[in-house]
Symmetry: C2
Subunit: 337 residues, 2 copies
């Protein structure tokens, strides 16, 4: 059964990946409607060999849409997604707008596909740094309940958007040429630097990005009181987020057992042969749809602790792939379809 699909925010980094994935994964697209705000409307994208015009967003356009991917800022989602639902579309939203709404499922298909049941017309896809974390956490939770999670991230600039990728490239060239560096997208230079600052700061000293990791992980795992703390850091990488993770479980879980449970889990690839210099890397994960886990080892500071390193393409599994996988479940295809 072909489905009429809209991609809202089609000109952005994630929107473009969604269009590419719909083709790559042979999603049963009937009509494809590309939309964007006035600023980027008028551009074209190629879908199944034919150029498609990106139209200015208009609520009327949703009348003929069955399924709409939203890859736009939260305020745009908040305004437009209910209009799309009113006109009969089901919305898969990538923004923060509905993620903490208790009525809206927040879904990573390999982890909590069941949460989709009885959705209210909107399904939220989590933040990039959350998605790649909850896959290995779910694999461990199946061995023993989680007690505490500590995460520090190494996040690429494409998570901010295409303009941040351009800023990184421009500033890198400036540094190499000995020229002064002008920050525009970020408050400080990102080239050859790391910034412990992603999204806005809250009063308690945490960033919103750090709180997304905490709150979304709790919701997806169904563990509203899970002890979890994060430091999120922007690094000069174009694509691919990395995370160093410490996990304590109720009962001790050994590295071999953990590695096996992760390898069995759909969506995870274990890359863990340190002697051969094999471990996940953002440059290697870029363009891939899986979550890569390695450097699994005992936590030397806790007898119930494990440490690992997890990497994923933040535009793919961290965004577009996860959204398309949610859509595949909605149209009756299994995860990984």
């Amino acid at each position: 059964m072909p489905v009429n699909v809209a991609v809202v925010g089609a000109a952005g980094a994630v929107g473009r990946e969604v269009v590419r994935l719909l083709e790559e994964r042979d999603f049963p697209v009937g009509r494809l409607l590309l939309m964007a705000t006035a600023r980027t409307a008028g551009q074209t994208l190629t879908f199944r060999g034919r150029p498609q015009l990106i139209q200015p967003v208009s609520t009327d356009l949703f009348e003929s849409v069955d399924l709409a991917f939203f890859a736009v800022p939260a305020d745009v989602s908040r305004a437009l997604a209910p209009e799309a639902v009113k006109r009969g579309a089901v919305v898969v939203d990538k923004s923060t707008a509905f993620r903490e709404d208790p009525d809206v499922p927040l879904v990573v298909p390999e982890v909590n596909a069941g949460a989709l049941a009885g959705h209210p017309g909107i399904v939220a896809s989590p933040n990039c740094s959350t998605i790649q974390l909850v896959l290995p956490l779910r694999a461990l939770e199946d061995l023993s309940p989680l007690r505490r999670v500590i995460v520090s991230t190494y996040q690429s600039v494409s998570g901010t958007g295409r303009e941040a990728v351009e800023e990184l490239r421009r500033q890198s060239a400036e540094v190499l040429q000995g020229l002064p560096v002008r920050p525009e997208v970020y408050p400080h230079p990102i080239a050859f630097n790391v910034l412990p600052h992603i999204d806005a700061f809250e009063a308690d000293g945490y960033t919103r990005e750090e709180m997304k990791l905490v709150n979304e992980t709790r919701k997806i795992l169904g563990r509203p009181d899970l002890a979890l703390s994060a430091t999120t850091v922007r690094v000069p990488v174009e694509v691919g987020h990395s995370e160093a993770v410490w996990v304590e479980t109720e009962d001790p879980v050994g590295p071999d057992e953990a590695r096996e449970a992760m390898a069995r889990m759909p969506g995870i690839v274990v890359q863990d042969d340190p002697a051969g210099a094999v471990y996940p890397l953002p440059r290697s994960a870029a363009g891939r749809d899986e979550v890569f886990v390695g450097r699994v080892r005992r936590d030397l500071s806790s007898d119930r602790g494990l440490v690992f390193w997890v990497v994923a393409d933040n535009l793919r599994k961290g965004a577009a792939t996860n959204a398309v996988q949610i859509a595949e479940l909605l149209v009756g295809r299994g995860p990984g379809g």
Copy 2:
């Protein structure tokens, strides 16, 4: 009283900084002798406005030396430092050769200057990533005993040496020009990438770099059983190591109290105004001698936990500055002299 000083490994990244600091800090240098292995001997460095030839290392040269800085690989230190001591020199060694030797003090002047008493002619300076960690840890330990420490690092390539800085710059230009990237110093490309791999891997999955952080921190703080776990990661930054740190203390310590204790500690500068985008950054710390701490906040996953972010110039306080500060203590100048 002028002191006859030798710098062994004078052509390397750290050796050059030592020579620069001896001049900058007006160290009471009588005669300065620069030495290096055959490969780099013959180059010259400027000291107090005059060119100084780097001579090939020879044990005889130590006859006239009072104080020798060693900034060479561990095997060279292991072979030559005892020869220098035999000839009457006191050695400040930057390598791993003697750090875990129970008879050799491992010193960060602001933290454990007292450990220098009765040294056997050799004093070890810790690894870069350890030095910047133990300053804030000491400040917290003075408020309440530490229970557990978790660290993930963001380490610059200059920690590897000058050839790694050149590799990062060369590879970055190659990526920007769309050329293939050739890794030479590291097993994988470092440009626009992060590598969870510093120094060699041990059988339990930890790297030697991670174990240095664990073992050296325990020795310096005099806490041989302190629970501590680390993930050390190389990032595409030229100079300046950053660390995300989680600390649990016996009694709860609030962020304000922690910030005040750190600000009082010599050698630490607190940079902590998130609302104004003020936090430590490697590019800002480069060329500075202090350790910069910011993003101090409660650990959401533990009622006795604190989280912070610490940055220092790995060639300065992480290496040369700390070695020169040790020497200042040895010649009777106070820390920060």
